[in-house]
Each structure stands twice: as structure tokens, then as C-alpha cells.
């Protein structure tokens, strides 16, 4: 996160750091944190997400059973002391599956968003920085990808490739970068004309150095916001795919494919549908609120 520094003021701080007369200015990160804390719903979301990530990391210790442990005589049991969320159609403990599912759903969201952010940032940065023919080619390509109906393109590709968890992550990432690329390009277009870029160039910095060390840190704020929202979006997309049977495959549990099972037994065992959905809903809601909080906290135009 150290990369997220406001370049120009940061440099000033260093220059005047030794001056005893100037007050030590608040660091950028602590200012962002102070502003973020005021957004109560974003803080609540952040707490919930930290909790969920702890659950995902310690899933083996929290789950009471293995996610593939079946117990057919005890199928479709309602929630009870023994099975907090009941059991599914082959007697698997739902609580354990939801806990293990958090691991898969959260990592799919994280990696898919990571792929999208990486691709979007690199393509947008190259297009915006170099302009001309490179910009033209990259942006036409972006437009082409954007033109396809996203979810439909997604189910087309997952119907062709093997539906491993890794491929699901990759495909979601590969279909969701264009919006971000456009945004980063816009940032680069305006930033590359600024004086600190000219100064860096005059000092003989290479293109790569200017792009990644000078311009990118200044364009990071909207990228971070968008990345946060995108993790929530990717979790929602994965759950939709898995719900259709085109995402994470049994016996691996993801929140979406548990609901796929739940749908068949909605009449007899509504809890199979209800519980994983609550987790999807709260997780995505938390990411959206954290993204909203970050947007306010990182926006230099909003005053304290």
C-alpha cells in the first residue's frame, strides 16, 4: 500500500522535513484511514470482511465436518444443535460446507478481480501513456471485448474450457477488465501532461519507470476503489455461474453451487438455499460499502 502516496505533496514533505518550523504533516495513509473511519457502514463492512477472511483461513478448524463427509440417513435435516444450518440432500453438514465454501468463493472473487485489475491497468496505462497507434489498437480491442454480452460470453467460454476453480477465476477476470482499462487510460491521458512527468523525463527516466513509479501511483485511487467493487462483483458472478452448474463443480462447495442444490429441494429444505445466500449477500454488500467508503476517503476534492 506504500505505493499509494500523493506524489507531489510527498516530495514536499521530504524537502521540508528537516525544517523545525513546519508542523509534521499528516501522512496520506493516515488521512485516508481517518476519513474512511467516519463512514460507519464501510467500517461495518470492513469488519465483516475481516471476519470472513479469518473464517476462510481457519475453515478446517471452524467447520465441524469435512465438506465431503456424507451421511445419507440424516439427509435434509432442519437446522439443529448438531447441524447448525441443517444438512443437504446427501446428509452433508451445511454449516461445514458454507464455511469451506467461503474459502472458494472469496478466493475466486479475489483472484478474478486481481486478473481484471492487472489486465485493465496494464492495457489502460500503455494506451494512455503512449497514445497514437498503440492507444488506437488497444482501445479498439477493449471496445470489441466490451461489445460482447458479458455474462453470456462467460457461459460460452466456461462451456468450452474445463471447469476447474482456477479456470473459473481466470475466465471471470478475462471478461471483466475493459471498464477498468478505459478508466486507467483516462487517468494516464491527463497525468502524462503534468509537470512531474516532464521532470522525470528530463532526468532521463525510462518509459517503464515513468509509467509504474511516477504516473501509476497517482492514478491508484480510482483503481483501488474499482478493485474493491470488482471483488464483490466477481463473487456475485461466480455464485451465478455456480448456481447454473457452470462454475465451481461438486464436491467442492461454493456458495453458488450449494444454492444450486438447494433449488432442487426448496420445498423440503429451504435452509440449503437460505444460508449460503445470506453469506453472498452480506459479503458483496460489505465490499460495495468498503468501496464506497474508499471512494470518499481517497477523493481529494471532498473536504474534511
Amino acid at each position: 500500500m506504500a505505493a499509494v502516496s500523493n506524489q507531489a505533496p510527498g516530495q514536499l514533505d521530504q524537502n521540508f522535513g528537516g525544517d523545525a518550523l513546519t508542523l509534521k504533516p499528516e501522512s496520506y495513509m493516515s488521512m485516508v484511514w481517518r476519513r474512511f473511519r467516519r463512514h460507519k457502514l464501510a467500517m461495518a463492512g470492513l469488519c465483516f470482511l475481516l471476519l470472513m477472511y479469518l473464517v476462510a483461513v481457519f475453515a478446517p478448524y471452524i467447520a465441524t465436518q469435512s465438506y465431503r463427509h456424507t451421511d445419507p440417513p440424516n439427509r435434509l435435516q432442519a437446522p439443529s444443535q448438531e447441524h447448525w444450518m441443517g444438512t443437504d440432500n446427501i446428509g452433508r453438514d451445511l454449516f461445514s460446507r458454507v464455511i469451506w465454501g467461503s474459502r472458494i468463493s472469496l478466493s475466486v472473487g479475489f483472484v478474478a478481480a486481481g486478473v481484471a485489475v492487472l489486465l485493465g491497468t496494464v492495457i489502460g496505462a500503455l494506451a494512455g501513456y503512449f497514445g497514437g497507434a498503440i492507444d488506437n489498437i488497444l482501445m479498439r480491442f477493449t471496445e470489441i471485448v466490451m461489445s460482447f454480452p458479458t455474462f453470456f460470453l462467460l457461459i460460452t467460454i466456461v462451456s468450452i474450457v474445463e471447469r476447474s476453480i482456477f479456470n473459473i477465476m481466470l475466465v471471470i477476470g478475462l471478461t471483466s477488465w475493459p471498464g477498468l482499462a478505459r478508466m486507467v487510460r483516462g487517468q494516464f491521458l491527463s497525468l502524462r501532461e503534468q509537470e512531474f512527468v516532464l521532470a522525470a523525463r528530463a532526468l532521463g527516466a525510462s518509459n517503464a519507470r515513468i509509467i509504474f513509479r511516477h504516473i501509476l501511483p497517482n492514478a491508484m485511487a480510482p483503481v483501488i476503489v474499482s478493485a474493491t467493487l470488482r471483488i464483490g462483483g466477481a463473487i456475485l458472478t461466480e455464485s451465478g455461474l455456480s448456481f447454473l452448474g457452470l462454475g465451481v463443480q461438486e464436491p467442492f462447495p461454493s456458495w453458488g453451487n450449494i444454492i444450486n442444490t438447494g433449488r432442487t429441494f426448496l420445498r423440503q429444505a429451504p435452509w440449503i438455499t437460505a444460508f449460503p445466500g445470506i453469506f453472498i449477500f452480506l459479503t458483496v454488500l460489505s465490499f460495495n460499502y468498503v468501496g464506497d467508503g474508499l471512494r470518499d476517503a481517497l477523493d481529494p476534492r471532498l473536504k474534511d
Partner: protein, 323 residues
């Protein structure tokens, strides 16, 4: 203006070529030899070779691409691998249902989102605004399939209020039951899917309307209108609202692809026989001709929608210069 339209049209050509190339490439990456679907299971190799030659599958890939492109330009999307019917017939069977559902949804969304976003902006930070913002967040995070299943459980299974699948009750017809019964039956079938789809997409448009209105009421001409003593109602209705609606009008262009593309998840859950259900069946049956046709048409409509919304933007807003 004409110049602008022509230039935008010229920009679309390379875009369409790119879309068709990607579409064709995906089709060719698909596993499974189409010839095996077309021949008998134990067909002798000579027979397979004959069919391969007949469909031109021996030709170099670029020859195949151009032949496919030529067909598409004539509006011929080939035949379904599964039942041999023309893909266009399959699509035309399903399209009316998707249009019907999405049209109702669109009317409801705009009829609600515009006034709600408007009031939300005029009373910024009021209780109403906070509640609306809260619900917008809920709507955006709600997994539509989960919400749909909860609704089905609550009003379809626990109580018998509403039908949960299909477009109409089988056997209810105009001749036997009269117009009123048919209308009520159809409307009842619409309620659940329309509720789910609307709730998901309303959040975005409400927020859009809100920020558009907020932007407008900060403008100088609104202050001028107030300063010259116009009643607040007139200022809002005649001066602010009209301008705030401009960006919304251009959204209508973007509705074009949405109107035609069925929602895969919603149509699956409610057994709504539209394009979404067609596409998911085609995906599961590996009926790539249908899958590719839907992808291609979807992309074309998206390009057309973009074009339309650009043109609308210039038409409705005289401040924008089409240079």
C-alpha cells in the same frame, strides 16, 4: 450532423470485424468435431471425409471464416447441431417472450427510478434519500437467483398466491375463458420475474438520475431562474428536470441490447421460454451454432445501442458539438 453520423458508422466497421473474428475463433476452439454430430455413430471414414468436404471443413481456416461471414451478412446463422432447425427459427421462437418480459421491466424501472432519483436529489441527505441509497446498495448486492428463490418459497410454495413458472397457465385461452381471465393470468405470471429483474437494475438508474439531478441544480441557470422569482415548482419542472433527464434519454440507447438479451439466470429459475433459456440449453447441449449466433447478435445490438445513444446525446443536447 450527417458528417458525424457517417464517421461514427465508419468507426463501427473495424469493430464489427473484430467481433466476428473473436466469435469465430471461440467457435473453433470449442471441443467436439461437428462432423461427428452430423454423421452416424459408426460411419465409415470415407463417409466422414465426404461430409467434411461437403461442409467445407477441409478448407483453410480463413476460407471458412469468410464463408461464415458471408452467411451471417445474409442473415443466415446456420442450423442447430441438435435438431437441424435453422438457428434463426429457434431465435424467433424465443425472442417474443424475452421482449415481452424486458419491455414490462423497462417501463417499470424507468417509471419508478426517475421520480425516486429525482426526489432523492431534491431532498439530498433527507431520511428519504438515505433510505433510497440504502435500498440501492441492497439491490446491487442481492444475488438475483437467491432473491428469486426466496420469493418463490414465500409466495409460491408456502402460500399459493402466485404461479412460479412459465408465461401463462396451460389451457387458459382466449376462446374458453375470455380476455379478462387471460390478462389476469398473464399478469400473475409476470409479477415474480418482473420484481426480481427490476429490483436488480433499478438501483443503478436511480443513482444515475439522482446524481444527474444533483449536478443540474447546482448550475448557474437554476440560480438565475430562482433569482428572477420563478416559483420553485417551475424551476424544478421546467428548468432542472428537463436537463437532468438528458443523460437518462441516452441510456435508452443502451436499453436496446438489454431488451433483446434474455437474463439467463432469471429465465432459468422461472422457466421463462425466452432467449436466456435458449442460450443455457444450447450451452449445455454444446449447440455451438446457437451459442455463437446469440453472442454475435448480442454484440451487434450492443454496438448499435452505443451508436444510438451517441446520436441521441447529440440530438437532445444542443450544447454538445458533434465535431
Amino acid at each position: 450532423m450527417l458528417n458525424y453520423v457517417i464517421r461514427r458508422l465508419l468507426q463501427i466497421i473495424p469493430l464489427l470485424i473484430g467481433i466476428s473474428i473473436i466469435n469465430f475463433t471461440i467457435m473453433h476452439l470449442a471441443p467436439g468435431d461437428p462432423v461427428l454430430l452430423l454423421t452416424e455413430r459408426n460411419a465409415p471414414p470415407e463417409e466422414v471425409a465426404r461430409i467434411r468436404a461437403l461442409y467445407g471443413l477441409d478448407d483453410p481456416i480463413y476460407v471458412q471464416y469468410f464463408r461464415w461471414l458471408k452467411q451471417i451478412l445474409k442473415g443466415d446463422f446456420g442450423r442447430s447441431f441438435v435438431d437441424g432447425r435453422p438457428v434463426v427459427d429457434h431465435i424467433m421462437d424465443r425472442l417474443p417472450y424475452t421482449l415481452y418480459l424486458n419491455f414490462v421491466v423497462m417501463i417499470i424501472i424507468y417509471a419508478l427510478a426517475i421520480p425516486i432519483g429525482n426526489i432523492s436529489a431534491l431532498r439530498q441527505y433527507s431520511l428519504f434519500d438515505h433510505v433510497v441509497t440504502f435500498f440501492a446498495f441492497l439491490g446491487q448486492a442481492l444475488p438475483s437467483f437467491w432473491f428469486a428463490l426466496l420469493l418463490i418459497y414465500a409466495v409460491g410454495i408456502k402460500s399459493d398466491w402466485l404461479p412460479i413458472t412459465g408465461v401463462a397457465t396451460i389451457g387458459v385461452s382466449l376462446k374458453r375463458h375470455g380476455l379478462w381471465t387471460v390478462l389476469v393470468d398473464r399478469a400473475k405470471h409476470l409479477i415474480l420475474p418482473v420484481t426480481v429483474v427490476s429490483l436488480g437494475s433499478m438501483a443503478g438508474i436511480t443513482r444515475y438520475m439522482r446524481s444527474s439531478m444533483l449536478e443540474v441544480i447546482r448550475q448557474d441557470y437554476i440560480r438565475t431562474a430562482r433569482a428572477k422569482g420563478l416559483p420553485e415548482k417551475v424551476v424544478i419542472r421546467k428548468h432542472a428536470l428537463r436537463n437532468a433527464l438528458l443523460p437518462i434519454v441516452t441510456l435508452v440507447g443502451m436499453e436496446l441490447p438489454i431488451l433483446f438479451s434474455g437474463s439467463v439466470i432469471i429465465e432459468t429459475i422461472f422457466s421463462w421460454p425466452g432467449l436466456g433459456l435458449l442460450s443455457i440449453r444450447a450451452v449445455f447441449q454444446r449447440d455451438y451454432q446457437i451459442v455463437m449466433a446469440l453472442n454475435m447478435i448480442g454484440a451487434l445490438l450492443m454496438v448499435a445501442g452505443n451508436f444510438l445513444s451517441d446520436i441521441l446525446y447529440v440530438l437532445v443536447d444542443p450544447r454538445i458539438k458533434y465535431s
